[in-house]
């Protein structure tokens, strides 16, 4: 199960361009089965573009993306989901005009008919993770608080039954009190075997929960290593952890 020797996601020399802007330049990274990987880096460094390319939302201009050995780099997003990759996008991107329940059901959209039977169980499970969603079932998603919306975005992403959960800027705009409930949920999901790839502004927090990390700078990966190594790396501390190296 938790065999971190088995590569789940293998990204090699990935490049992404928007017209003339090269947002991602020859990035290579790996996520193992059961892994917990963080990506940190400044604004505009290409973190979101990398996740979007993996999810199939933007077309890579070069390189390869393999999930469990299968090339998914040229697939449209709705097919990537079926390979077990789920993206919780930056800014949540909920279907704000539909109810909480509708959003959850849409999260389960990619299931094949034979898996439909387990849907009730999975709905119960995400509501157990985020009980507020059960209470707000019939509420329009756009009227939820920021924290509740992020919970719904996470729940929606989980309902496709991913093997790899990619989360872009989960902490954006959320109070520390809410983050204190969300991060333990991620740790719990990871303990239960889900691989997580986390893009996070709050680098300290990200490195605390994850096992490994990559630092993005100017569209490239400049530093990578175990979370502990990064947390004690002088350059990382100076640039991203908000305190000066001793």
């Amino acid at each position: 199960m938790n065999n971190r020797e088995v590569p789940l996601l293998e990204v090699e020399n990935l490049s992404v361009s928007y017209g003339k802007v090269e947002a991602v330049r020859s990035v290579s990274l790996r996520v193992m089965a059961g892994d917990f990987v963080s990506i940190i880096g400044n604004n505009g460094a290409g973190k979101s573009s990398t996740l979007k390319a993996i999810a199939g939302v933007v077309k890579p201009s070069g390189g390869s993306i393999r999930m469990e050995g299968k090339e998914v780099g040229s697939l449209p997003p709705h097919k990537v989901v079926r390979h077990g990759i789920s993206l919780i996008p930056e800014g949540r991107q909920l279907f704000a005009d539909q109810t909480v329940y509708d959003n959850l059901m849409l999260g389960a959209y990619s299931r094949r008919r034979e898996e439909a039977g387990s849907l009730e169980t999975d709905l119960d499970r995400v509501i157990e993770l985020f009980p507020i969603l059960g209470e707000r079932r019939g509420q329009i998603a756009g009227s939820l608080s920021g924290g509740e919306q992020q919970m719904l975005a996470l729940a929606r992403g989980l309902l496709s039954r991913p093997k790899l959960l990619m989360i872009d800027e989960m902490s954006l705009g959320l109070a520390p009190r809410i983050l204190a409930t969300l991060f333990p949920v991620l740790e719990r999901l990871n303990r239960e075997g889900l691989a997580i790839l986390l893009v996070e502004q709050l680098a300290t927090l990200a490195l605390k929960v994850s096992l490994r990390g990559y630092v993005f700078e100017n569209s490239r990966i400049t530093i990578s290593g175990s979370a502990d190594d990064l947390a004690s790396n002088r350059q990382v501390i100076e640039a991203y952890l908000g305190r000066r190296a001793a």
């Binding site: 993206l87 996008p89 005009d97």
Partner: protein
């Protein structure tokens, strides 16, 4: 009194058709952020083909079913060849021209093969008028607005209670997020055009007994249906139905009390006025465009 009732009921009859056309535009716009400007010709196809199939000696039910099917295929093919290449990839508005052009070609072809004259589509519901408060009205004219309201009610439930309906709303709201959860966005566009066009074919068959079928019958119906969709607020299905019924009623009153000549001038003036005051239409929502 009977005159007022007459204009009102007849207005609902024609307004029901505008409403049905506008629902089609609403469905297409929601999923593709583009529409088929030849949608009026889908009504024409439905009506004309039903007559042609009846001429072949087919039973009425089969003639209607086949005509709707062809109308549906027309919409699906048109989406594939005339809209998708522009609307999704290139962010171009080329689809406006291509769909109008295909509509004109279809009208010309129909004029050549079907004839340049109008023919009635027989219906038992236009044989004898019923008298309501002194006004004589054909049951067919009463059926049309009832069908429009019934269809929008079914659509409302469908969009909220089925996975396909939720997916269609999701695509309308945010294509990128729809893809992320596993919805095939282009597939949804195709299904939407199929639905809208089948509805268009059916609408043509419903109205043909009242206004007669001809190669050019779809032109004004399509334009008015589009106008109604815009003033109703193209994002709201109930909104466009209300706008359609209102437009039909106003038109009949102007027609009756002023003149037929004044009808289009007054009607389209109202359209422009409404849009100046409510740019999103009466019941529309501001489109949230996320790139």
């Amino acid at each position: 009194m009977s005159e007022v009732v007459q204009y009102f009921l007849a207005g609902l009859g024609i307004g029901g058709i505008y409403a049905l056309v506008a629902i089609g535009f609403h469905i297409m716009w929601s999923s593709a952020k583009a529409v088929n400007f030849a949608h009026g010709d889908t009504l024409m196809l439905g009506a004309v083909l039903t007559i042609v199939f009846l001429d072949f000696g087919l039973p009425i039910a089969i003639a209607i079913a086949l005509a709707i099917l062809v109308g549906m295929l027309f919409g699906v093919v048109l989406e594939r060849v005339a809209i998708r290449p522009f609307a999704t990839q290139a962010r171009s508005i080329g689809w406006m021209l291509t769909t109008i052009a295909i509509g004109i070609m279809l009208e010309s072809y129909t004029t050549i093969s079907f004839g340049a004259f109008a023919r009635p589509l027989p219906s038992p519901l236009v044989e004898n008028p019923v008298i309501i408060l002194g006004a004589g009205i054909y049951p067919q004219e009463l059926l049309i607005p009832i069908a429009a309201i019934a269809i929008v009610a079914v659509l409302h439930v469908f969009q909220r209670r089925t996975q396909l309906g939720r997916a269609m709303r999701a695509v309308a709201y945010n294509r990128e997020a729809a893809g992320i959860v596993g919805i095939n966005v282009t597939g949804i566009a195709m299904i939407s055009f199929a639905m809208a066009s089948a509805l268009g074919g059916l609408s043509g068959i419903l109205v043909a007994p009242v206004i007669q079928a001809s190669a050019t019958m779809g032109l004004l119906l399509g334009i008015k249906g589009f106008a109604v969709a815009i003033i109703g607020g193209i994002t709201s299905a109930p909104g466009v139905v209300i706008a359609g019924l209102l437009y039909g009623v106003i038109e009949k009153f102007v027609d009756g009390y002023i003149s037929t000549a004044a009808r289009e001038a007054v009607g389209f003036s109202i359209v422009i006025l409404v849009l100046m005051i409510w740019p999103q239409g009466l019941f529309g929502r501001k489109e949230i465009v996320k790139v």
